[in-house]
């Protein structure tokens, strides 16, 4: 915890109090907008003008599309946004093709504006929705707030105009009850981020990043432990961050879309993608997969569309072959699950129900954990090395024992806690409220201890780079 985080907490309090006492809706809107832009400025001062420019452009462009819903107009608008992403996000990656060109040396230096991928996707969905004739018609101020909304501007969840703007218009919904709910979300989010940071910091100075820096032949156990470590680091990190953000917005009475729904408990890849980074997954479904799949009638084309959509999902993260491959892999797994379902349709089930669920869960879990290789590896040969080690049994363990124990302990603890929570009837809402008071406060102390005294050692947030 630093002076900066205290400053942000104080700012949240001031904005909350101001919003609470003001009865004027426009005044509250401007307070939110000013606070959001100041927040963005404090994080990445250079690119605030870009955010404002994109907001103003897309607002006016969306109005045009609504007045004259022409496909060509829509595509031109989408192209402008994609070009913006292209310049800042994808162009620098092409420098590798022209290693000696001084021009490309400069291109490589282009910095990524904070949250660009997130708010540009929000702009795109607005243009598409306006083309479809969506009822929500934001004002300029409302649209700017939608684009730069402080809780989501950095790393989502990716919202839709139809979800957010009506909430901007509603009376202030921040109550003590919403503050309590929001604070609990923040608390759980901080706890999850702390777990992610524990994996990053590792044990005895050896963390997840050090595992991926290992060179030389890896054992099968090495590969799976490091993939598990990364898979849970990225989950705790991003899901925890999303929880935190949703919690902060909840304090102000806003209901943001969920971003994660215990994805590692999924029993199929299809279900996993309805529970992991949901706001992006649904975005891809609505604006890439469905239009694409509906453009032809054949069933095979739906499968192709699914793979293409997941490839776009992968490329959203970064322009690299590995992310493209990662997306294609996910698409193929989804198609595979689909075909398997069709094959088994009408067939008699094999074995007892619990065994089928357990087998489906395990297979799904392994397929997903394995996919993090492509997400995290530093190059094709690195990825190939990890995959080979993971899939072809090899003895030996390079990873230090403390790190292995930390990863396996956290993973086992996570599943045990999920199992415990599912078994205990929920008497009251809230993650820990089912516990007796002493145990609950011991849990709060655990989160507090880990977050405040241990998490400071570790590095930043994985999704901030996307």
């Amino acid at each position: 915890m630093s002076q900066v985080s205290i400053l942000y907490a104080a700012a949240v309090l001031v904005v909350w109090m101001t919003a609470r006492v003001s009865s004027s809706r426009p005044f509250r809107l401007w307070i939110y907008l000013a606070a959001s832009w100041i927040f963005y400025f404090s994080l990445d001062a250079r690119f605030l003008p870009l955010l404002v420019l994109s907001s103003v452009f897309n607002y006016h462009y969306g109005r045009r599309i609504r007045r004259r819903p022409r496909v060509a107009l829509l595509w031109a608008g989408a192209l402008v946004n994609v070009a913006l992403l292209g310049v800042f996000k994808y162009l620098p990656a092409f420098q590798a093709l022209f290693p000696d060109s001084p021009f490309w040396q400069h291109v490589r230096q282009i910095a990524l504006p904070l949250g660009l991928s997130f708010w540009t996707f929000q702009a795109l969905s607005y243009l598409f929705d306006q083309y479809r004739g969506d009822e929500t018609r934001p004002s300029l101020g409302e649209f700017c707030l939608y684009m730069g909304f402080a809780p989501t501007v950095m790393s989502g969840p990716i919202c839709r105009v139809g979800d957010l703007v009506p909430q901007f218009r509603a009376p202030f919904a921040g109550s003590w009850e919403s503050v309590r709910e929001g604070a609990q979300g923040v608390w759980v989010g901080v706890g999850m981020i702390t777990l992610a940071r524990m994996l990053a910091a590792g044990h005895g100075g050896f963390g997840v990043a050090d595992a991926f820096a290992l060179r030389g032949p890896l054992g099968t156990a090495d590969a799976w432990v490091m993939l598990l470590g990364y898979g849970f680091q990225i989950y705790f990190d991003f899901a925890g961050y999303s929880r935190l953000v949703i919690g902060v917005a909840r304090m102000f009475g806003f209901q943001l879309p969920e971003n994660f729904d215990r994805p590692y408990l999924s029993t199929s890849v299809t279900s996993f993608w309805q529970r992991w980074h949901m706001s992006l997954s649904f975005w891809i479904r609505d604006y890439v997969f469905l239009p694409l799949a509906m453009s032809r009638r054949e069933v095979w084309w739906r499968h192709v569309s699914l793979v293409i959509s997941m490839a776009v999902f992968g490329l959203w993260h970064s322009a690299s072959w590995l992310f493209l491959l990662w997306g294609v892999y996910q698409g193929l797994m989804l198609v595979g699950h689909r075909l398997w379902q069709q094959l088994r349709r009408g067939a008699a089930p094999i074995g007892p129900r619990w065994l089928r669920s357990a087998a489906s869960w395990l297979l799904t879990f392994l397929v997903i954990i394995l996919s993090w290789t492509l997400f995290r590896a530093e190059g094709a040969s690195h990825a190939a090395g990890i995959l080979t080690a993971a899939l072809i049994p090899a003895a030996g363990l390079q990873l230090p024992g403390g790190f292995v124990l930390l990863v396996l302990g956290l993973v086992a603890g996570y599943f045990a806690s999920q199992l415990a929570v599912s078994r205990i009837p929920q008497r009251a809402p809230g993650l820990l409220s089912w516990l007796p008071m002493p145990a609950r406060f011991a849990c709060y102390a655990a989160i507090f201890y880990l977050a405040v005294f241990r998490a400071a050692e570790a590095q930043g947030f994985i999704y901030a780079q996307f």
Partner: protein, 85 residues
């Protein structure tokens, strides 16, 4: 085909072809997409069926899953964006 007949035939289609559960309880206002009963893959079949029942062409770029969440929304959407064949 009148209003309730088209609703009934869509519900029948959903029960037999999509959910494969003749005992499923579907009303014109039952949420289907948001509740997870219909996934995005099946949604495409549903749209094709909708085109068949209404004898309209529904342009892909004009519909979103939230416009097709219930049977009654499906027909409202078809009426709004559908084009005669």
């Amino acid at each position: 085909m009148d209003h309730s007949a088209s609703h009934a035939s869509m519900i029948e289609y959903l029960k037999t072809e999509i959910l494969r559960d003749p005992d499923a309880e579907i009303e014109p206002h039952t949420p289907l997409v948001s509740s997870g009963l219909i996934d995005s893959f099946s949604l495409i079949q549903v749209v094709q069926e909708l085109e068949k029942i209404t004898a309209l062409r529904i342009p892909a770029s004009k519909v979103a899953p939230r416009d097709l969440d219930t049977v009654s929304q499906m027909f409202a959407t078809a009426a709004r964006v559908g084009m005669p064949r």
